[in-house]
């Protein structure tokens, strides 16, 4: 099972933005293999969430762990059969551990998007 997490440049802490995160950690639960995927949507003028979610779908990820997620991105992920969980810790390791112990909740407070009106 592959999971994706938006991470900051330090590659260990969670980025609060899904669509405009600098990169995603793609982590394979079974093999414990990890890859950092540059987020090509980071500089998009609009539709960053859609583009970021698309790259998650294209990378055949099964679940996303994120502190929050915009409506459009969530719609792409849901259509791509990807489950979205809410992170509760600051680091990728803590969240992966919590996920493995079934302690993360499904993210249900999808926001309508910030569209250049703040949020960070």
């Amino acid at each position: 099972m592959k999971i994706a997490i938006p991470v900051n440049e330090d590659k260990t802490t969670i980025c609060p933005s899904f669509g405009r995160t600098p990169m995603f950690l793609i982590y394979d639960i079974e093999t414990q293999n990890q890859v950092f995927l540059d987020n090509s949507a980071v500089a998009s003028q609009g539709g960053a969430g859609i583009k970021a979610a698309q790259s998650i779908v294209d990378n055949k990820v099964d679940a996303v762990l994120t502190p929050r997620c915009g409506e459009n991105a969530a719609n792409v992920l849901i259509a791509g059969n990807i489950k979205v969980y809410k992170t509760t810790f600051n680091t990728t390791k803590e969240n992966i551990d919590a996920f493995n112990e079934n302690k993360l909740q499904i993210l249900d407070d999808v926001h309508p998007g910030f569209h250049n009106h703040g949020g960070m």
Partner: protein, 279 residues
């Protein structure tokens, strides 16, 4: 003649200046290009004469014809299309109606579908024609609505006041594109000066003649005034931070009609602008 009133941020006094300039003229057309939150009509309270819907074209998919080649999705630079389960998925409100996906589809699975994004209201308040652009909530761009309003402006000699959207983005650009003169409204604060600089850069790029109206002026330091002097920008008028004016304005009334002092101020400002345009 088209006079655009703009500012780098909202709440600076664009509508105050626009409404009062239109009111100070014997005959004018006031165009509210701030289609995300048009408010000039609150002052003019125009009698509504007609209304026109504004429509754009968005793609519509025939799933039976789609081969799942993804060309449309890869083409879309606005990220309005996602590719899920081998089919494109459209995000209507992100689509900019460029039509590229339809042109690129080798299977002709995409066709044009009409979508209403807002409307233009035409009204009249005494000698002022009031044109108001209203964008539907959630739409990405008000540009089709602004363009629609420009299509309706015909008489070249008539005085047209364009109340622009805040900022210096696409919608402000669309609004000043055909302007003969730009009025930049600025607040005296550091933030106000920063935003004045944004629209100053914009009018320079568009090569438009312009002048500055300093609003909310108080005793003491005025950073926007200093900025204007430092860049040799003409200052047309200084409007005081005045309880009387604030009171009239916040009650949706027009200062030019209610106060002799402001009737004089805005008439003088209008004359000055007209003189500048004719130089």
């Amino acid at each position: 003649m088209k006079i655009a009133v703009l500012s780098g941020k909202g709440g600076t006094g664009k509508t105050l200046v626009s409404v009062n300039l239109a009111a100070a003229a014997s005959k004018s057309t006031y165009v509210d290009c701030d289609v995300e939150e048009p408010n000039g009509h609150l002052f003019f309270k125009p009698e509504k004469l007609k209304e026109k819907p504004v429509k754009v074209s968005i793609p519509s998919l025939d799933e039976n014809l789609c081969s799942g080649c993804r060309k449309c999705v890869d083409f879309c630079k606005f990220n309005a299309l996602a590719f899920i389960n081998n089919k494109p998925m459209l995000f209507e409100e992100v689509c900019h109606s460029c039509g590229g996906c339809i042109l690129f589809c080798p299977q002709k699975a995409l066709s044009e579908k009409s979508k209403k994004v807002g409307k233009v209201e035409f009204g009249k308040a005494k000698d002022v024609n009031v044109i108001t652009g209203i964008m539907n909530l959630g739409e990405a761009s008000g540009i089709p609505i602004i363009s629609e309003m420009f299509k309706s402006l015909k008489d070249k000699d008539e005085l047209i006041i364009l109340d622009c959207p805040p900022g210096s983005g696409c919608m402000a650009m669309e609004s000043i594109k055909y302007a003969d003169y730009c009025v930049l409204v600025a607040e005296p604060t550091l933030f106000g000066t920063h935003n004045l600089n944004m629209v100053y850069e914009l009018v320079k790029i568009f090569n438009k003649p312009f002048g500055v109206v300093l609003n909310k002026c108080v005793e003491g330091e005025n950073l926007s005034e200093e900025f204007c002097k430092g860049h040799s920008m003409p200052i047309l008028e200084s409007i005081p931070f005045d309880y009387e004016l604030g009171g009239i304005n916040s009650n949706g009334r027009i200062a030019t009609f209610e106060s002799n002092k402001y009737s004089v101020l805005f008439s003088k400002l209008l004359k000055k602008i007209l003189k500048e345009v004719h130089i």
